[in-house]
Every structure is written in structure tokens, then in C-alpha cells.
Symmetry: C2
Subunit: 230 residues, 2 copies
DNA sequence: CAGAATTAGTGTACATAATACACTAAGCAT
DNA sequence: ATGCTTAGTGTATTATGTACACTAATTCTG
């Protein structure tokens, strides 16, 4: 019923393959704004344009591993929250030819990294998402917009904010992060009530004592794992 | 500051490329169960195993286009709801070599397709998700589990169910779909109240008159576009 | 044609969650 | 001691979610 040729495996060496890259969107909160790490390109195409850190997928690496590796190689950042975002495959997204990219999305506390010590320090920089030029390399503008949207959707119904904060933090810091990401002002009492009723955070015995005002109690997330509701 | 070689574009023809495929998860509701279209493999690897429809990404197609094309070529299905699900890239997922797959997720009303007329009719079949053998080809078991989870998360806060129903439907049908996907029993009055208050559906003037019982009013979704809350 | 069988359709009381809103507390600087 | 700054708290109202049981309209059967 089937010819012999049909049951043999398809020869993968004979098909035309696209290049595959991994792109990492690194978000943090600084100076009251959502910022993203961009790299000023020194290579064609898009020399001089800002772009997201990314690289060709190493042939033996899993996608998640590759994302971690790129993150580390370009920024020196290690051990942070990473999740797969989306795969972008417009045939025209790269002028060199067919390159599909698997985008990842990372979060970290702003002070936990020093980009000036990054391997690609001369070219890597934090840029506020709201100030982005429309002329980013490739389709990176679209990727950033997609990631910012994901963050917005996730912050209210998960403990994802833990990845943007130090171990211990003030409720006012947590609130500020929500306000920036959601781009809205929240009521202090209602915010606190909600956060505590969700049981994702708990008070510690420590206080934050800087500034000429009453010290603030420090809280921590109850778990380091990602928890999502709905 | 930079050598000439650094500013030239990287030569994409010299890198080692993984193969890229597109896999489509086609869900529907039948006989009170969530079912998925599987294809019995006639080629190595995994001859005789059930697998999701999929194929190598045609080098000139966008990912979405490729998913549509695969769907049509293997099942004859056209014009249905499709969304990108996730990209699976475990280096060992395909015994032939490195193949990463971009998985898509499709929904359609069970009666809108006749698999016996599909191009791959001899090998394509609807299989209830709960009855799946653990021995599916590749990592397809994992892909199906991931897709079922996505469906579960989406059904309560979007109008995605419209893709599983005909144009006009009974509220009892809609409720049944929710119950199957969420794997729970819902209260009829509360369900109706909620559905109507969300303003995603509206009554039509038509009734469903089959069976020895009171006719049921038919409803329709207010919009054909995907709407998601939070 | 009366009664049984079947699915459709409806309302109310209660509990929980979301919102609006303003003052007191604790520390530091002068 | 006073003023400045951020931390911290409660209550009333509204909206949303949940629990729960009977009547309505049709077909089938005897």
C-alpha cells in the first residue's frame, strides 16, 4: 500500500532550513519607568540601530538554555526569571534571509546588574520603553510591545513581580511597580488589602529605615516559584 | 575601534541550522469530550504511532501561513481559529536530528469537518484527549497537554468558545463546552447570568426545536473577533 | 387527550470581593 | 518643638459570585 520511499524518514539534510535565533527581552523598573536592555549594533544589518540582545541558536542547546546563555554572554546576567514569549517568523524580518526568532522575556531587579561590567558593555544600555525610537533593528519594536503586554497581563494575577524586587521590599515599592506596569494610579489601602489577601506575600521582621520618615515594614514573597491565578 | 570583519553581516549560509517544523493541535468537542486530530504515522521515525499533524516549515512561508497550509493539506480544514501556542526545542525531541517545532492551536466545531474526506483520510482521526496513549510520536503528548491547559485558561475570560460552536447555539451547548474544558459542573442559572452580563453573546430570534421538550432559544456571539478580559 | 418525560428557563438571599475615601504614626531635619 | 515626609490603617457602599428549586414548553405514549 505504501511505497518503500514513503516509509523512510525524510532526509533532513536535504530540506532548506531557515536560520533560528533566540532574542531576549530584559525588563526592569528604574526611575519610575519600565526599561529594557538594548544593544547598539556594530554589525550589519542595522549598524548603529538599537536591538534586543540575541544570537543564533547554538545547534546543540535547548531553547531555554540558549536564552540563558545569550543573556549571560551579552549582559553578564545570570539566574533570573525567563519565560518564552513568542516566536516571530515573518520571512522579511531579517534582510539577510530567512531567520525566525524565538523571543524570551526576562525580569530582574534593576540594581542586581551592572551593565557597565557586561561583556558587551560598550553597546548595552537600559532604555525606557516609552522613549523607544521607532527605528529599532529588525522587528524588535514589535517584540518589545508584545512583551510589555504580557507583563501587564501577568502582574495582576501572579507573583511575577517577585522577579523585579529584591528578597525583601516595602509595600510601597511593590505598589509602584504595579502602577508603572499597569500605567495607572492605585489606592494604597486597597492595594495592601488585596496583596495580603492573595497570600502571595508575607511580612518579615525587618524594616527599611532610610529617609526622614517613619520606617517601612519589609515584606517578602511566600514562594520563589511562579504562581498564577485566574 | 572595530575591525572590518566585525561590521560585516554574519554569513547565514555558514551557520549550522536546525530544521524547523510547524505542528498543529486541532481541538474540538465531541460526544462530551475534548478531542484532538491525530495522524497515524506511515514514515519513520515513529511509524505506526499517533502524532499531531505537522510538517517542515516551507522556507518562504510565514509561520501563521504555514500552520494554515499544514492544516489544510493534512485535514482539508480551512478558515478556522488558529493561534501560536509555544515553540518546542528540546534537542532530543526528534531522533533524526535537531528539529524545533512551532506549535499552533486550532479550534473548530466538530461537525464542520469531515476527516474521511481529508487528504490524509486514511490516517487522520479524532481522538479524545483523555484516552491518549502515552506513546505518541515525538513530544506530542506534552504539546497536547500544554494546549489543553491554554484552552482551559482562556475559555473563562474570552469568547474563544465561539470557535467551537456553530453560528447559532443553545446556552446549554455553551455551558456543556465550558464544563468539558474546565472539567467541572456549572450551575445553569449562574452560568447564564454570567455569560449574558459579559455581553459576549446575544439572543437571536431563532429556536432549536429538536427533541421532546421545550424549544431552546439560540444565541450568537456578538463579535467574531477574539476578545479577552482579565 | 391526559399524563409522563425531557430539556429550557427563571429569581432571590447570602457571601465575597472591589472601590471610594482621610486621618494618624514614626522618624528626621531644623 | 515644629514641620516635613512616607508608612500605616478602617468603614461604608457597590458589584460580583454562589447556592439553591421550581415552572414552562414541547414530544411521546397509552
Amino acid at each position: 500500500m505504501y511505497t518503500n520511499s514513503e516509509i523512510k524518514p525524510r532526509d533532513l539534510s536535504k530540506i532548506e532550513k531557515p536560520a533560528v535565533s533566540v532574542t531576549v527581552l530584559i525588563f526592569s523598573i528604574n526611575d519610575g519607568r519600565l526599561e529594557v536592555v538594548l544593544i547598539n549594533r556594530v554589525r550589519e544589518p542595522f549598524v548603529g540601530f538599537w536591538s534586543l540582545p540575541g544570537d543564533i541558536l547554538p545547534i546543540k542547546n535547548d531553547l531555554d538554555e540558549a536564552a540563558k546563555k545569550i543573556l549571560f554572554d551579552k549582559t553578564g546576567i545570570k539566574n533570573i526569571y525567563l519565560e518564552q514569549l513568542y516566536t516571530f517568523g515573518d520571512p522579511k524580518r531579517d534582510p539577510r534571509g530567512r531567520v525566525i526568532t524565538v523571543a524570551y522575556f526576562a525580569l530582574l531587579p534593576y540594581n542586581s546588574v551592572d551593565l557597565s561590567k557586561a561583556p558587551d558593555a560598550l553597546h548595552a544600555k537600559w532604555i525606557p520603553v516609552k522613549n523607544l525610537s521607532t527605528n529599532l533593528a529588525f522587528d524588535h519594536k514589535k517584540i518589545i510591545a508584545y512583551g510589555a503586554e504580557r507583563l501587564k497581563n501577568k502582574i495582576e494575577y501572579s507573583n511575577i513581580a517577585r522577579a523585579l524586587l529584591p528578597e525583601k521590599f516595602r509595600l510601597s515599592e511593590l505598589q509602584k511597580i504595579h502602577e508603572i506596569i499597569l500605567n495607572t494610579k492605585l489606592d494604597k489601602r486597597n492595594f495592601r488589602k488585596r496583596m495580603l489577601s492573595m497570600k502571595l506575600i508575607e511580612p518579615t521582621k525587618d524594616f527599611y529605615r532610610l529617609g526622614n520618615h517613619r520606617p517601612a515594614r519589609l515584606y517578602k514573597f511566600s514562594t520563589k516559584k511562579l504562581v498564577t491565578f485566574n
